[in-house]
Amino acid sequence: MGEFTMPSLGADMDEGTLVEWLVGPGDLIRRGDPVAVIETAKSTIEVECFESGAMGRLLVEPGTTVPVGTPLALIEPAAEGRGEPERARKAQGKPQAPPAPEHARPARTSKPSPARTPVPSGGRDRGHVGAGPLIRRLAEQSGVDLTALDGSGPAGRVTRADIERAAAATTAARPSRIRATPLARRRAAELGVDLSAVTGTGKDSAIRAEDVSKAASGHAAAPPPPRRTTAAVRASHPPEDQASGMRQVIARLMTRANRDIPHYYLSTTVDMATAMDWLHDHNRRSPMSERLLPAALLLKAAALAAHEVPELNGFWTDDRFAAAQDIHLGVAVSLRGGGLVAPALHRADTLGLPELMTALKDLVSRARTGRLRGSEVSDATITVTHLGDQGVETVFGVIHPPQVALVGFGRVVDRPCAVDGLLGVRPVVTATLSADHRATDGAVGARYLTTLDRLLQNPEKL
């Protein structure tokens, strides 16, 4: 007697909500069949079972949230008869992570997979033995694997009723069409978002346009409030790759960026001696809470430079550039579990350095705990990626559509430099610009980088 328990679908998952049973008591299941839809804080996922047999009693009602490891249903080994299932053991405190499948299972088609489940030893004669041509044809037509069937006929023969039952169970387990509004579908097509990777927040978990927009901006939607729902079944994600939804969104967005945007790249080395001296001096005189990182100077300079070169601040949509009114500086933040979001520092050009530093810390910590606000994930007008803390000197980034520019900063490093005809050692940073050649030409990009350089030479004015 096996148990199907609430799986752990990620290191940070401690509970999940059972949304829907895809099978019912008595249904025959095989290892790898999706049996339930589970909603986690991140997404809604079809969960597969890891043993074959017959579903026994369902122990948890849809809509219930339970800790990882809680038994959700009993599974009777296929070899056993349909006896009364033994009482479920108490939920263990330890999460029982299911073994990961070796590869993502493709969505079921009506054709049975050629792989045959090994017949458990000690089982009765399986139904495929001596199944007549009619039964074989029916099984093939309805995609039922005879090897997985217990025949109810004489001598364990499979009957037509068995095929129909099994076919019905298969149909029930097949992912249904994704529920999404017409506008959401249209927007997903426009933004290149895979709907199967989007969590719906609408009625019955329908995907709404807003959900698509959030997904497109690389933002895992905030977990919807738990509610009783007969949620739409999502295409299954392999449980071991919890970032897959976000990964897919990023993949699509970046593919679109590289496919649609003719990038041009510029790079310049900025002498940071004055800025670093000013920064050390400021930090020496300031309490710990008000100390600044070089990133604050770089971001502020990037925002002010965008103010001076507005051709790079806005969006390329409908074959034309639309300048944005404000400067919402997207800041690329890598997430600990993999993936990336680029939430916006609203009106970054108007923030004083201490304010900007506070806002930046707040934004990064909320990005990493999944508490970003909708406006932050969709508002950015130009984005900065700063890989200095990763020890990288130069980054040529990919533009975040529909923006038209991405500014990259590496680490501030000491390098030998020619200064006033003498060789000296100076702190420098490599600033790069990836820009959309449809919207601007190299001259504009060059103006941006030289402006950035000029601003960084006057740190007290930032």
């Binding site: 509004t181 017409p182 506008l183 249209r186 709404r208 807003e210």
Partner: protein, 331 residues
């Protein structure tokens, strides 16, 4: 004699309508008013009070209690070059004249190869909410909006009550004007007209971005009240007054749904086969890819409108029902 309603003054829907009739009678000798009790009694709902004294019995004519006869007479007068305004007491009784309207007024231009226009205006009271029970309370505007060859108007504001009649009389085809009984006492500041009333377009009574509340006639004040409640909850509702029920202005609805992506249609008629159903179908046809939620309809319960106050209130669309429908679409 009653006070003359002039622009910029406080007035009521009833007075605005009366002023429109007075202006029509003054400015065109071909215009005359006829119907049950329009003369000596001053109109069943008091709209034509004082007009008999002012214009005399040739221009303001009381008729026998036969809708078929006096609507037929109105059609005949219109064919002969007059510009009659025929008042029918309530839409329930207009069914007795439906044959005249559908089989004669709406068809003659077509059947005569364009030789016989019927420039007739028919006014009638519609709607419930005043405990007049099932024989005086129905909303059958949708019946008339179904008929090709006529124009159907539903003035819901003081301005439309005051200024819709002139273009209706100028229309060469039959025009049916529905006045919701609950609006007669509505009072407010009558704004001077900025332009002649455009009978071909719906009006956006309140712009909004989150949801479109589409309505007409007596439900407009309820939709506006619902929009106020929704605004307090942070939901920015657009209120559209259809005004002209035939020909329906689909473009305004389509444009609104393209902005808001959600629609609630409020119609005091019975839900099945209602004008709300027509608007909903058009949204499905024209705005499918703009919809982010199913279309919601708020209509009357499918019963003869009850007499008892609490039952009547329960049967009709109320502000709370509109708010709830909006939440279903937005949340």
């Amino acid at each position: 004699m009653n006070a003359v309603a002039t622009e910029g003054t406080k007035t009521t829907y009833r007075e605005a309508m009366r002023e429109a009739l007075r202006e029509a009678l003054r400015s065109d000798d071909r215009v005359f008013l006829m119907g049950e009790d329009v003369g000596r009694y001053g109109g069943c709902f008091g709209v034509s009070l004082g007009l008999l004294e002012e214009f005399g019995p040739d221009r303001v004519r009381d008729t026998p209690l036969s809708e078929s006869a006096f609507v037929g007479a109105g059609i005949g007068a219109a064919l002969a070059g007059m510009r009659p305004v025929v008042e029918i007491m309530t839409v329930n009784f207009s069914l007795l004249a439906l044959d005249q309207l559908l089989n004669n007024a709406a068809t003659l231009l077509h059947m005569s190869g364009g030789q016989l226009p019927v420039p007739l205006v028919i006014r009638m009271t519609t709607g419930a909410g005043r405990q007049l029970a099932a024989q005086h309370s129905h909303s059958l505007e949708g019946f008339y909006a179904h008929i090709p060859g006529i124009r159907v108007l539903a003035p819901a504001t003081l301005e439309d009550a005051r200024h819709m009649l002139a273009p209706a009389l100028a229309d060469p085809d039959p025009v049916v004007v529905f006045e919701h009984g609950s609006l007669y006492n509505a009072s407010g500041e009558l704004l001077p007209p900025t332009a002649p009333v455009d009978l071909d377009h719906a009006a956006i009574r309140r712009p909004g971005t989150d949801i479109s509340l589409i309505t007409y006639g007596g439900s407009l004040p309820k939709a506006r009240a619902a929009a106020d409640e929704l605004a307090a909850e942070g939901i920015d509702a657009e209120v559209i007054d259809l005004r002209t029920l035939r020909p329906l202005d689909g473009a305004t609805v389509t444009a609104s749904v393209a902005r808001t992506h959600r629609a609630v249609i409020v119609d005091e008629a019975w839900r099945t086969g209602s004008l709300a159903a027509e608007v909903s179908a058009r949204i499905a046809e024209e705005s499918f890819y703009d919809l982010d939620a199913p279309v919601e309809r708020v209509c009357s319960a499918e019963v003869p409108i009850p007499y008892a106050r609490q039952l009547e209130e329960a049967a009709l669309p109320q502000t709370a029902d509109i708010v709830a429908a909006a939440h279903r679409a937005v949340d």
